[in-house]
């Protein structure tokens, strides 16, 4: 198998690196861009890239949900919100405090660095080459888990969605004078 | 007889609650309730004194009831939080002191006319707290009543004080609050070390002791104290904790700044209670907890205690010498006299400890008398500043005379209580710290200097014209003066009225500390 820097060049690996690149570049772009449309595209890129990662990991159902909810609904919602609340195309109207930004940046880099170091130090007790770990389609498994083991949280989520929905409507509606 | 001590606390509290239900306008009625609510406990205190058994060295008149329990507080055994009251030779004189000063302070503050109801409410709570703190036979009860005095005194200063009362009250609260916290840490720490030591030894089976090791009850601890030898390091550490608490509590150097502010800003009756009684609690606690239960700690740090005492004696005297305000002068004089008590405790002699208890009582009576006469003068002259007074012996012969007696008492004139106290105290301290004691006597010379100097400026000299028409003591003012002077002379002439009570207990403690 051909290798690059000691990593075997397989379809999965190539896919991972492409997706990772898309996610991280888009992620940075979301935070850095001035133009609204660029940001919207980048946001979609992150969410779609994550969906790709899910599918790569064999979680096709979760991937599809990710595309529908995040890449679809939330991105659109965010773009609408941005357009509604912004006069013009600029998203960056005020510069944050530079010192605080730099301190946060250093803090974040150190934080991520520690996590990565910890991760690299771990010998994972994992099944290394299980490309298809689940014998059944994941949808079946998820459905079974949801309706058996995770029935209670499933019902709680319905409460949560009701509360969020009612709350959002309650707060966002116009005054009835 | 145990219920007598409970009544000492209960009656003022009930009287305080009763005042809440009286109409604010009927001031005489409120004053009457307050007076009755303090006289009855005083009578009970006298009853307790009269029936005091001179043959036992331990606690008498024990009353104890469990308030609540904290489960699994130590090694799976519960801790019973109790209300326990008892007196021994050390607390009995101080309970009497509360009895005397509280009645006189209540009478004195008949003069207060603003928010009378609230005033006597807090004053009665303060008196209950003072009784409780001295009569407590349980470390929790002691802390409980100490906190009660804290809140009550805060309100008394902050509402009825002078111009800078808020500042003084807050300062009082924070300093005494910290002292209470350190004290609590010491008390609980003592109880825990005691419990672990008790668990390590097996004697718990032979003594009449609750099955649980951890206790805050002094009577229970006293019953096994002979069998429990705490490690020297523990004793030393705990002793320092108690010492720190007492230094803050008693306004010793370097924590001395709050007392003068407190006295300067408080009204006269409150000053009598603070200076006469409240300021004795700390040293009482040092003897009651640290000296009794931590003899090795005292051995290790006795010299430190004595040195700190001498520093406060001299510093207090020097600042008193420079004071321009009578109340600040008395405050620093009191710090100076309390330094003597520290010196006596450091000396670890039975006779010294006896002198220390005498000094607490004597200084309490004399300080109260001093504040009373100074306050009575200021009622007439509208000033406490020594420099503005002068020639008062002519318009106010009685008040000036009483003041002179109080000052002579503080100076240590033979025949008055101050002399007996200082004499016994020095007898003890010379035995162990001759050099330090000689230095301490300088403080006594300074006391004579600042008191007589201030007296001379106030009462003698040319009479200022604006003070010409002042009226001397009214009938009601004779009560505190006569009572206090009578007691000061009585103790001075017949020291045995206190000595018989104190002697046994002090001997027992001294035997334990091996002095």
């Amino acid at each position: 198998m051909p290798e690059l820097f000691g990593i075997p060049i397989t379809g999965a690996n190539i896919a991972f690196f492409v997706l990772a690149l898309i996610i991280l570049l888009s992620g940075v772009t979301v935070l850095m861009m001035d133009k609204l449309m660029h940001m919207a595209v980048a946001l979609g890129g992150v969410f779609l890239g994550v969906a790709g990662i899910f599918i790569l990991l064999g979680a096709d159902f979760v991937g599809i949900v990710q595309i529908m909810i995040y890449a679809g609904a939330i991105t659109i919602l965010m773009v609408f919100a941005l357009m509604l609340t912004q006069n013009g195309d600029e998203t960056r109207t005020a510069q944050p405090h530079p010192t605080r930004t730099w301190l946060t940046l250093i803090f974040t880099v150190v934080f991520v660095g520690i996590i990565v170091i910890v991760l690299r130090s771990v010998q994972w007790p994992v099944s290394q080459n299980a490309i298809e770990p689940f014998t059944q389609p994941t949808v079946n498994l998820i459905a079974q888990a949801l309706y058996h083991t995770y029935m209670i949280p499933f019902e709680l989520v319905s409460l949560l969605l009701t509360a969020a929905l009612v709350g959002a409507v309650l707060i966002a509606r116009k005054e009835e004078e | 007889m145990g219920d007598v001590l409970l009544l000492l606390v209960l009656i003022p509290v009930l009287a305080a609650i009763l005042t809440l239900f009286l109409p604010a306008g009927s001031k005489s009625l409120i004053r009457g309730v307050a007076l009755v609510g303090t006289i009855i406990p005083t009578l009970f205190a006298v009853v307790a004194y009269a029936s005091f058994g001179h043959n036992t060295t331990g606690f008498q008149d024990v009353f104890s009831t469990t308030w609540f329990t904290i489960n699994n507080a130590f090694s799976g055994t519960p801790l019973a939080i109790q209300f326990g009251f008892a007196v021994d030779g050390i607390s009995m004189p101080l309970v009497l002191l509360v009895g005397v000063v509280s009645v006189l302070a209540v009478i004195r503050n008949f003069a207060i006319d603003t928010r009378v109801k609230a005033h006597y409410f807090w004053m009665l709570l303060l008196i209950a707290g003072l009784y409780g703190a001295f009569a407590a036979a349980d470390m929790f009860s002691f802390f409980f009543f100490l906190e009660a005095t804290l809140v009550a005194t805060y309100f008394l200063i902050a509402i009825w004080g002078n111009e800078r009362r808020q500042y003084a009250a807050t300062k009082f609260l924070i300093y005494r609050g910290f002292a209470s916290v350190v004290m609590l840490a010491g008390l609980i720490g003592l109880a825990y070390s005691f419990a672990s030591q008790l668990q390590a030894t097996t004697i718990s089976l032979v003594v009449p002791y609750e099955p649980n090791y951890l206790t805050l009850s002094l009577t229970q601890m006293a019953s096994v104290v002979g069998h429990v030898n705490l490690p020297a390091a523990t004793q030393g550490g705990l002793f320092l904790v108690f010492l720190l608490a007492v230094l803050i509590e008693e306004a010793f150097v370097p924590f001395h700044t709050w007392l003068a502010d407190t006295h300067e800003q408080s009204d006269t009756g409150t000053n009598m209670l603070i200076g006469g009684v409240l300021m004795k609690i700390g040293l009482y606690a040092l003897i009651r907890f640290a000296v009794t239960f931590l003899p090795q700690g005292l051995h290790e740090y006795g010299t430190l205690v004595a040195v700190l005492g001498v520093i406060s004696i001299l510093y207090g005297a020097l600042v008193a010498l420079a004071s321009r305000d009578w109340r600040r002068l008395i405050a620093f004089s009191s710090i100076s006299h309390m330094g003597l008590v520290l010196l006596a405790i450091g000396s670890m002699q039975a006779i010294g400890l006896q002198g220390a208890v005498f000094m607490l009582v004597s200084s309490g009576l004399l300080t109260a008398l001093m504040f009373f006469t100074v306050g009575a003068q200021a009622d007439r002259t509208k000033t406490f500043t020594i420099g503005e007074l002068g020639g008062l012996s002519r318009p106010l012969p009685v008040l000036s005379g009483v003041m002179l007696v109080a000052a002579l008492g503080l100076v240590g004139l033979p025949g008055l209580s101050g002399f007996v106290s200082e004499f016994t105290l020095f007898v003890g301290s010379f035995a162990r710290f001759p050099a330090l004691s000689i230095v301490a006597t300088i403080g006594m010379i300074l006391a004579a200097l600042y008191l007589l100097f201030a007296m001379q400026r106030t009462t003698f000299g040319p009479q200022k014209p604006e003070y010409a028409g002042l009226k001397d003591a009214r009938a009601i003012e004779y009560i505190p003066m006569v009572v206090l002077i009578a007691l000061v002379i009585w103790i001075g002439v017949f020291p045995s009225i206190l000595g018989d009570v104190v002697h046994g207990t002090v001997q027992a403690i001294a035997a334990r500390i091996g002095g």
Binding site: T10, A20, I23, L24, G27, V30, L31, L43, V46, F47, V50, I53, F54, L57, A59, V62, Q66, I69, Y70, A73, I74, L77, M78, A81, T85, T91, T93, A94, P96, R100, T104, L105, T108, V112, I115, V116, L119, W124, P125, V126, S127, Q128, A130, F134, T138, L141, I142, A145, L146, Y150, P153, V157, L160, L161, A164, L165, A168, V169, I171, A172 | -
Partner: protein
Amino acid sequence: MALQPFLTLAAILFGIGLFGALTKRNIIIVLISLELMLNAANINLVAFSHFLQTPNIAGQVFSLFTIVIGAAEVAVGLAILLAFFRAKNSADVKDVNLMKW
């Protein structure tokens, strides 16, 4: 394929999200950053679900819950923002400074 690259990717994405959430002044971008953090956690969950010694679907289920909750969070966030926008006529975090941060 191995587990570590996925976890590393997630860690970096979490970091980007955290940085955005803590520094950005535009509240909508802050909300987006929060979603990035949730996405990072989801990558972790799904990756673990896949690579565990005994693969467990629970990770995927967990990530589904997270996605749904994230959407609810965004909805509430935008609703509050809308209310705030009505009151202040701005969607910029620099106006969210009536009180000291």
